[in-house]
């Protein structure tokens, strides 16, 4: 992984090779877990970073639930390498990994991601067939059991925000849900998207404030301040519904309602030049600055147990 190119976009096969290489190079720190298979049968790979102990409190990060948001998967690759480089070198990350595990799912929606490389670069959804419709796929970030089917998702299978026939109908979503539920000790859940430069916390499906709104807001502010300290990239932050729009059935609303207090969604660069087509030369700066936001949330999670 030392000669892997972090400045270009990669196919699913290349990402899978990277994952296997990283595991081989760091057998005492990194392992690969298969949490299920996608609709089309691809493995759902999660990297586990752990320094030992069983069922430690953990942090979940996913970087690719919407397949066309290529900078997120690329950022996930960079994070994985960064974690292996910084453990034992960086005080904050070392302290986190000495007490907690980190789970990283670089490609949450591999069918969609493969499809963006083979057929349609702008594909967002899963690739499941919808009975009675010629339109394929479900928005995997409208398929969670949190305000499922309410305003902020579409009941039309042809829509980009189609919520699916029922909550957790998508195997890519259900696999994460089962993993998180069975683990039972996930303390922070961070989902990474692009674009718009936002850091959001629950809720998206309701205007009701989260019980921990003040604390989540304070942590978000610290995270975006740290993120901006590198290149001056400005982020807005707040609850999903107040910051961007009403969105029902999203992952972090479900995780928060399931007891994971530190539930956040990032929307990475940019604010409106390239959108989902961010040039590859921006991958590393995007990842570097996002890491600062991420480490702020992870450090806070370590130091504020609940």
């Amino acid at each position: 992984t030392g000669t892997f190119s972090y400045t270009t976009y990669h196919t699913l096969e290349e990402i899978d090779e990277f994952i296997d290489l990283l595991v081989a190079e760091n057998p005492n720190l990194v392992s690969k877990i298969e949490i299920g298979n996608s609709y089309e049968g691809r493995p759902l790979n999660v990297l586990k970073f752990s320094t030992g102990g069983s069922n430690r409190p953990a942090i979940w990060i996913d970087t690719g639930i919407h397949s066309r948001e290529w900078v997120t998967q690329a950022t996930g690759i960079w994070f994985a390498k960064k974690i292996t480089e910084d453990y034992g070198q960086d005080e904050t990350l070392t302290a986190i990994l000495d007490s907690m595990d980190i789970f990283l799912e670089i490609v949450t929606n591999p069918d969609g991601f493969a499809y963006t490389h083979s057929s349609n670069r702008l594909w967002r959804k899963t690739r499941s067939i919808n009975a009675g419709s010629s339109c394929v796929g479900v928005d995997p970030n409208r398929n969670w059991d949190a305000g499922f089917g309410l305003t902020g998702a579409s009941s039309n299978p042809c829509s980009e925000t189609y919520h699916g026939k029922s909550a957790f109908s998508e195997v890519e979503v259900k696999s994460v849900v089962d993993f998180v539920t069975n683990h039972g000790n996930i303390k922070a859940f961070i989902s990474i998207h692009s674009y718009s430069q936002l850091l959001m916390y629950p809720y998206g499906y309701t205007a009701t404030q989260a019980t921990h709104q003040a604390e989540l807001d304070e942590v978000a502010k610290a995270a975006v301040d740290n993120l901006a300290s590198l290149y001056g990239t400005k982020y807005e932050y707040g609850s999903t519904i107040t910051t961007i729009y009403q969105a029902s059935g999203s992952s972090i609303d479900w995780t928060y309602n399931s007891g994971i207090k530190y539930s956040y969604t990032f929307e990475l660069r940019d604010t409106g030049y390239y959108g989902f087509l961010l040039p590859a030369k921006q991958i590393i700066p995007t990842a570097q600055e996002t890491w600062l936001g991420l480490i702020t949330i992870m450090d806070y999670t370590l130091n504020h147990p609940y």
């Binding site: 190119s5 270009t8 976009y9 083979s118 057929s119 349609n120 670069r121 702008l122 042809c158 980009e160 925000t161 674009y195 718009s196 961007i244 729009y245 009403q246 409106g272 030049y273 390239y274 959108g275 989902f276 087509l277 040039p279 590859a280």
Partner: protein, 97 residues
């Protein structure tokens, strides 16, 4: 591969709730095959939408007729995709050699 030649991404700036509602009407017109990259929400938040070439004129006429401001964020989606592909191919070629 899907060809996005002539597709534009428009950035729509709404001034009030009534204009947001107008854009929501646009969202419901399935025949236009619009792809909202950032959907309509509040007047202060920009809306980004990918418009296929055959719908570009209709969408712009609709926005102008309703006094809704917009700018072109991406002139031709396919040009950006071609650049992206060229970069990836160049990387693979370097990697092989």
């Amino acid at each position: 591969k899907e060809d996005f030649s002539g597709h534009q991404v428009l950035r729509i700036s709404t001034a009030n709730e009534a204009q947001v509602e107008k854009v929501r009407e646009l969202e419901k017109l399935e025949h236009l095959q619009l792809d909202f990259w950032r959907g309509p929400s509040y007047p202060s938040i920009p809306i980004d939408v990918r418009v296929p070439f055959p719908s570009v004129q209709s969408v712009k006429v609709f926005l102008e007729a309703n006094g809704i401001k917009y700018s072109t964020m991406i002139e031709d989606v396919q040009l950006l995709l071609d650049e992206e592909q060229e970069e990836m191919l160049a990387f693979r070629s370097r990697a092989r050699s």
